[in-house]
């Protein structure tokens, strides 16, 4: 009797699990991998924030610029890896992409989000910033944000990589990656990225680094397999 009950529970559990797997929802293949560099990247210069004491005092040692961010083992962080062809355009998610000014730096340094997705920009510093993204295809605007003012919300209607700067603090520099679909990732300090939930098909994967440019690879996904690819950028010594 007892055993019968156990078996029955097992069957029910198995059935539930298989329904969960077979049903609609996140499924499909995955592309994972790593972004690395070869050669010697330029040494990132320390930033002199002495003109903005409220920010300078937040750092024991001066922070460096972030145009090339490397990790141990020649890995590259802040590289946008995305499906540039093969996937249909996606509607923007309802969640907002968040961009923060803190310690006179942009967090994150590279923010990837989708076309028409809400972008929320906030200032956590004790100083005024002006947010000045410099698009070529989208509208160019420039807004002041003194300390304690509410978040600025904006959106972009065309896919583009947009440099962002603050004119008041010339060392502040960041990037928006406005993308057409939801299959994108920004590499971590270990250079790792993962693009999940890719339906079977042939994809062009592009990796974008703000100083080193773009690289592409074609990847074919069948079923729910996981494919591993590597992007290797040639480091520029200057």
């Amino acid at each position: 009797m007892h055993i019968k009950y156990l078996v029955l529970t097992g069957v029910v559990m198995f059935a539930t699990a298989s329904v969960a797997f077979a049903g609609p929802g996140p499924s499909g293949g995955t592309i994972t991998g790593k972004v690395t560099y070869e050669g010697t990247p330029a040494k990132m210069k320390p930033i002199d924030m002495s003109k903005e004491p409220s920010c300078a005092k937040m750092y024991a040692t001066p922070v460096t610029s972030e145009t090339v961010v490397t990790g141990p083992g020649n890995t590259l962080a802040d590289v946008v890896v995305y499906v540039s062809a093969g996937a249909p355009d996606d509607a923007a998610p309802s969640s907002a992409a968040v961009f923060t000014q803190k310690g006179c730096r942009y967090i994150p340094h590279v923010l990837a989000f989708q076309v028409n997705q809400e972008l929320k920009i906030s200032n956590e510093d004790q100083t005024s910033h002006n947010i000045h993204p410099l698009p070529k295809l989208n509208r160019e605007w420039n807004k002041s944000q003194p300390p304690g003012s509410p978040a600025i919300t904006e959106k972009y209607d065309k896919a583009e990589f947009i440099p962002v700067k603050c004119n008041i603090h010339p060392w502040m520099h960041g990037n928006f990656a406005v993308l057409k679909n939801s299959h994108y990732a920004v590499s971590s300090e270990s250079g790792a990225f993962s693009l999940a939930n890719l339906p079977p098909g042939k994809y062009t994967i592009t990796a974008w680094q703000e100083s080193y440019g773009e690289q592409t690879q074609d990847v074919t996904i069948s079923g729910s397999e996981t494919k591993t690819i590597t992007f290797v950028f040639k480091a520029k010594p200057y």
Binding site: N130, H132, R139, E140, W141, K143, S144, S149, N167, I168
Partner: protein, 287 residues
Amino acid sequence: MKNIRMKKVCLVLAAALFLPLAASAQQMESHIGNLTGHSEQGQQLYYRYCWGCHGARGDGNGENAPYVTPNPRNFVQGTFKCRSTPTGTLPLDQDLYNSLVRGFNFTNMPSWAALTSQQRADLVAFIKTFSPRFKSEKPGDVIPIPPEPALTVASIQHGSELFQKLECWKCHGQEGRGDGPSASTLTDSNDQPIRPYNFSSSNRSKCGSSNQDLYRIFMTGVDGTPMPSFADVVKPEEAWDLVHYLRTLQTNNKSPELTMWEGTKQGAEIVNAKKVENTYTGSGVKP
């Protein structure tokens, strides 16, 4: 016979050269008051007066462009400095027209007051044909400017506090001389060095000289330059106080604001000290 053939060749060449120009320009209209501008007429004027700097394609790459700082405006991007509309939006036809009348102080762009108003309206219509944005977008909603309240010393003082709070001095300097700590690092959107407005010079600023123009400049921002929009952070009633204070920084311009400010002990001291070049007057210190 040979002559005729040469003529034909010349004609074909001329057509090949100028057709792309004609083709790129589809027709547009501009509406300024009760004037209607037509791009076909504006085109003739543009290729006579404007293309030397702004280029045949309106991309700011005319023959003279390499020698012109700041660079001539690129009309294709549809980003314009002087607007009555919010930052990032298209200007009104009237805004473009006003820019033609004024010209741009401190740049190579002269005033086109010598043209007729109809000609300027036609030019505005033609300039709009360069950017695809004018086909797909409407101009932004005009930033409302409430009537100017009476000038008081309190208003000037409050304006001075706003000048501190909004950190205008970071670029424009405590004395409004355009020499703030960030001034030397400023670049425009073409990566060319650009200077913040020097109030003490008392020159007309790029986007006009009236109190309303001043109000408009910091509320709309000057797109394509480091000057941001303060529309989200300055309340309309406060904005007039800032205008009143900014006027007192124009120490060579006998404005009612300056006269009133000089009438107070505190103001007179500050203004006198400001007239001495390169001195720090402490005008930023809260009264």
